[in-house]
């Protein structure tokens, strides 16, 4: 069974006075297997942010359902949502979203503390993750003292420390220079190799080229997908670029 299944997802926004209806998602169907690394690509306004928000259970769909490990996340009650997200989902954002009044260490501890874990349980987890992400030296520093790449790795550590079922990343390389981006993508590949399921929304072909599978979303529908198979990152990059060109030209891939 797939880890994450999305069935007939539809989201309609109604303008304030009820007149115009905008279909952000029309009919989205896809699934993510356990241990898979999936990238979702699309232009601005294609509906990918709406999709991610629904997957993150920040927003609710108009119809359709999202199943995580067979459980319907779209019907979790509001009161349990925060807990649900804390336990099952990990988030990485474009602008890091670190708290500037916490040290790196405390930022990473935050979700565990919110979950009510004991301090003694938390220490070994932090050590493992910090080592994996190469941020052991900066644990005592504050966000304003470290670089953007280090900030994003801190955010990844914060997302992973709860051992989430799936890591949701929203344009994780968006605010990084190309070197830091490469570093971060390598990090993603590492944690993917260790068995972490990753779902990433991105503009960047380079970022997408690290994934196992790339979904293209256009006008609220999954339009196309590419499997890596045995391709290298560079070949994958080429293939994604080609697909995007056709996509932007407005053509139909099946022609």
């Amino acid at each position: 069974m797939a880890l994450l299944t999305v069935n007939n997802l539809k989201k309609v926004y109604t303008t304030r006075f009820g007149g115009n209806k905008v279909e952000a998602l029309r009919d989205v169907n896809f699934s993510v297997e356990e241990g898979e690394y999936v990238a979702i690509m699309g232009e601005s306004g294609s509906g990918k942010t709406t999709l991610l928000n629904i997957l993150a259970s920040v927003d609710r769909p108009t119809s359709g359902e999202v199943l995580l490990k067979g459980e319907k996340t779209t019907s979790v009650k509001d009161a349990y949502l925060a807990k649900f997200r804390r336990e099952h989902l990990g988030f990485v954002f474009q602008d890091f979203n670190l708290l500037d009044n916490f040290s790196v260490e405390d930022n990473i501890y935050l979700p565990l503390v919110l979950a009510g874990k004991k301090y003694s349980e938390m220490i070994p987890k932090l050590q493992v993750i910090a080592k994996k992400l190469g941020i052991l030296e900066i644990l005592k520093k504050y966000p304003y003292e470290i670089s953007g790449g280090q900030k994003q790795r801190t955010a990844v550590a914060r997302a992973l420390i709860t051992e989430p079922d799936i890591l949701l990343a929203d344009e994780p390389t968006g605010a990084l220079d190309s070197r830091s981006s490469d570093d971060l993508l390598k990090t993603f590949s590492h944690i993917h190799k260790d068995g972490q399921t990753i779902l990433m929304v991105t503009h960047s072909v380079r970022a997408a080229s690290h994934a196992d599978r790339v979904l293209f979303i256009k006008d609220g529908e999954i339009f196309h997908q590419i499997y890596r198979g045995t391709l290298t990152n560079e070949e994958m990059y080429k293939k994604i670029s080609d697909s995007l060109t056709i996509l932007l030209a407005g053509g139909d891939l099946n022609e």
Binding site: A79, L81, A82, K83, R85, R86, F91, F93, N97, L98, L99, D100, N101, F102, S103, D106, Y109, L110, P111, V113, L114, A115, G116, K118, Y119, M122, Y142, P143, Y144, E145, R158
Partner: protein, 676 residues
Amino acid sequence: MNNKLYVKLAGNNLKKNKSAFIPFGLSCAMMIAMFYMLSSITGQVTDDMFYGARTMKTVLEIGVRICGIFSVAVIFYTNNFLMKRRTRELGLYSILGMEKKHIRKVLFWESFIVGGFSILAGMAAGILFSKLMFLVLLNLLNLETSFRFLISLAAIKVTVLLFIGIFLIIILYNQIRLFRLKPIDLLNESKAGEKEPKANWFLAAIGFICLGIGYYIAISTKNPIRAINHFFFAVLLVIAGTYSLFISGSIAVLKLLKRQKNFYYHKNHFITVSFMTYRMKQNAAGLANICILSTAVLVVLSSTVSLYSGLENVMRTRYPKDVTAGVLYMPNEDEEENIYDMSLLEKVIDEQCRKYGVEKENPESRYSLSLLIGFQDGSLFPADSQNLSSMKIVEGWVLDDFKRVTDENYTLKQGEVLWFDNFSGGEKQMDLLEIGSFSARVTNKNELSGDIEDYFTEQDYGIDEILLVVPDRETLAELSDAYTEFVYGDNTETVHPVEYSYSFDLNGDLEQKMNFCNSLREVLNNAGIPHVSIVEDIFTTRQEILGIYGSLFFLGIFMGTLFLLTTVLIIYYKQISEGYEDRSRFLILQKVGMSKGEVKKLIHSQILSIFFLPILLAVIHVAFAFPILKRILFMLDLSNVPLFIGCTIGTILIFFLVYGVVYGVTARVYYKLVNE
């Protein structure tokens, strides 16, 4: 662009920032109303309104000035806060293509609208309520409410001019501020991360020590007159301690908590401790100000309320009987012994009573002599200002008077005295009392106790007293002469004479009683009674003291309200300015997995601690100041401790109530800001 557009823009800005401007306008209006009320009432009080009106007018005039100065300070503070917050908004205007002169016009109209509204609303409220306040004041003074109260044109003029002036200065100030800003500053928001505040352990320790010493002095000082310098020192120490505690102590405590890993990494403490650390860095001085201001309000209000409501108590301590007439007994100065026939005094007074149709009740009379003598290691020395601490008050009474008061049966021969005192020490060992040429054997030594103790209230001020009972008035006169010689050397004039006092209560119409008292001295003199000394009555003094205490009470309430308003305003603005900063943090927390309910709880616990920390410390300050305040009130003859305790607790409760309401409003505004 024409003026209409600027006015419209200014109006829009006010609407958009209404959570900041409405409290500003309302508090300005309130201050204007209060200033007008106070100055128009002061103008209505005329010297001949009642006995003591002159003192009251002086007190009120001082009050008007304080009120004015305070309003200026508060309006400036608030305006400064508003301007600081709007830097970014103004920057946006300049990016959108407005020049500074355009922005200047918008700012002008904003201040104009707010100022105009506050002055109009304030004056309207002031005129509406000033009559009511005047009636309240008259009621406090127990005066008939038949005085006409007019709308005072002079007060309107002063108030309007003063506040127009204040707003003009504010407009000018804002223009200068704008002029000095560079466009890039207008837009740049300080996004740079803040350093984590460091705990200054040294300063924190000093704060604790200051507070400790200040408290100790306040508790241990038995005699506030003697230690008035100590008292001020204690006040300064407590103020210094408050500042350093808020500035360093708070952060030090939070750091200590942070080190307790098991405590710190707990759901309920983790975020609060960390947020508070930063909070304290920005707000410590403001919170300390609030703490000191609140302490002042509580002290002023509770003591003026107690003084006013304890007035009768004060009067009775000061005047045990309604009327007292005194005659000096100086047989040395006069050749004829028989002129000291004290029954004549009584006869004249009875006649005076008949004349005015009032009734004399509970008459009491006695001879007394009051001396100040230094005692040290069993020897006596003349009083001087150097050794105040070894001074004791020696009171001389005659045996007959003593027996009448105590109902005890003592006998005394010539050359013998009885000794009663209120202290313990070596002087008690004295068997032979020698004061200059006067010497007598002490036959009985006892504590001052029972009914007689009521006549000796000086011990409340921490002064030692001795009561000497001698056989007759002639002996008392001898003691007086011996004392004069002892202190001043060979001097024939009597400096500390024996006094015979006759006191009684009066029954009847108040006006008749006043007339009785006013003519009493003349009547006594005309009747040929020699050396009439004091003639005093409770009635005129009561009116005078009522004038002072009543107006102090009135002012206390006024000032208390003004201080409270300020405190509340400061704290409200602090909170909402933080709301803007905290918004992003709370958003992140929600993204990381905190529910809305948890965020709400967190916000409440934070605002709660910011709000009530200073007030709690203020209450502790008041509790420690209580003993010394009690003694100061004792000096003002207010000895009703339960009343004072009640007034203090009542004031604190009312303070908390008002504060709680503001807390509720602030928390709501803050929550809305954060969750927008």
